[in-house]
């Protein structure tokens, strides 16, 4: 089989795109804070979710490292056999597409809500899809190189957004801590893990790393960095908004609007909007790339690039009719959507590791007999 994607990416680029893909929902709808009943505990739930996410990321990475040069779509076929493997591949493909659809709609909604309520959402979404398809067509190397730059920009904007509203911050808003029991913590942890389950895409990226041995380390870094950025976001939001923090549709955008230093240093929210756009663009490019490579590998095609624009049109159309409203999208992202992602990631890992275990056992017995 010919190599579909010839690009090579560095460990740091790998880490950057992983952080960016986790940070996109933070900059748009911060589902964790939207789904929690008492916002004071949000930062704790972020830590819990992040700690659980580390083994998930490590498991996916380690599994991929056992099959050098093969993506998760390919090695699931060699582990589970062609039929089961293809079915699992389709499930993963469905997840990649769903993620693309969610974030396309999410960015469109964010633009409409925040600045241009009279503009049809289709305008934003089709522009975004077009650019992302163009980027994805250029291959993984271009996406990841952009991803690294975007990573620095987004982290800078986020840190600025956390620090600059300091005049409005009241840290006593963060108390009481853990006063509502564990039931308060469950929904945001689910939402958080739902997003971290998108790290399934590691299975598509590891084969293209120039130094695969660094993959695990950088995957863990990615989880930790994104977790830290979310903890800070939770702290800053609750300090500034108190209990009203959970009522914002676009929490980070509203946080940026609180920044006013003197009379000149205002309108930082433009920076947040730029961060949305570039990070969503990169994430979308990455997932469309992964989806098209997955399609190509499922149907044994020799090329994936020409699949991008058709997939893009499907994504735009689907993002229009999947969700009726922003409220529905938010609810889906925090609850059902998150749960599906967790289940798919869980089932994938379980099946593949089980198959791997059985294969190794058979192999050992054969080796012992022979």
């Amino acid at each position: 089989m010919t190599v579909l994607e010839g690009g090579k990416i560095s460990g740091r680029q790998f880490m950057s795109v992983l952080v960016v893909l986790r940070i996109v929902p933070l900059t748009l709808v911060f589902s964790l804070i939207n789904s929690i009943a008492h916002v004071q505990d949000t930062w704790i739930t972020v830590i819990i979710g992040t700690v659980i996410a580390i083994p998930i990321a490590v498991l996916i990475t380690k599994l991929s490292l056992r099959f050098p040069g093969k993506t998760i779509i390919e090695y699931s076929q060699s582990l589970l056999g062609p039929v089961m493997g293809k079915l699992l591949g389709l499930l993963i493909l469905w997840c990649f597409l769903c993620t693309s659809i969610d974030i396309t709609r999410g960015l469109g909604e964010a633009y409409v809500i925040a600045i241009m309520p009279e503009t049809p959402i289709l305008v934003f979404m089709s522009m975004l899809i077009f650019i992302s398809c163009y980027a994805a067509r250029s291959g993984l190397e271009v996406i990841c190189r952009l991803g690294e730059d975007v990573f620095y920009i987004v982290v800078f904007v986020l840190l600025l957004t956390y620090v600059l509203p300091y005049t409005a911050m009241r840290f006593e808003n963060l108390r009481p801590i853990l006063a509502w029991g564990a039931s308060n913590l469950v929904p945001p942890v689910i939402a958080n893990l739902g997003y971290y389950s998108q790290f399934l895409i590691i299975g598509m990226l590891v084969p293209y790393l120039n130094k695969p041995e660094d993959a695990t380390r950088y995957a863990v870094y990615a989880v930790l960095i994104s977790g830290a950025l979310m903890v800070l976001a939770a702290v800053a939001l609750v300090a500034v908004f108190g209990t009203t923090a959970s009522s914002w549709t676009l929490p980070l955008f509203s946080l940026a609007r609180m920044i006013s230093l003197g009379d000149f240093f205002e309108r930082i929210e433009a920076g947040v909007m730029a961060a949305w756009t570039v990070s969503t663009g990169i994430k979308l490019a990455l997932f469309l790339w992964a989806a098209s490579v997955a399609v190509a590998q499922l149907f044994n095609l020799k090329a994936f690039r020409h699949l991008l624009y058709p997939l893009g049109t499907i994504t735009v159309a689907a993002s229009l009719f999947f969700f009726e409203s922003m409220v529905e999208l938010e609810d889906y992202l925090a609850k059902a959507g998150a749960m599906v992602s967790i289940l798919v990631a869980g089932v994938t890992l379980l099946l593949l590791y089980a198959a791997l275990g059985i294969r190794m056992a058979i192999h050992r017995r054969k080796g012992g007999a022979g």
Binding site: F299, H306, A317, E328, G337, V340
Partner: protein, 78 residues
Amino acid sequence: MNIVLLVSVFIAIGLFEGPKMVREKLWRELLVFGFLLFFGFTLSILLTLGVPVPSPVRGIRSLMNPILKLLGIPTYYS
């Protein structure tokens, strides 16, 4: 008007990608490409014409709601 725009977008995509595949004799690829493009086209046309397309999100939600309820997460949509 919208439909004209839509059709021209899809024709443009077809013209942009198709000839290359034909030249390189990637028939299998052309088939998948054609299928995906047709699928996207059908969805878009249905949406433009205002035909209600059932959203899979609803199905996913009704599958997931029991699990969510088990975890104590309130679900407002059914």
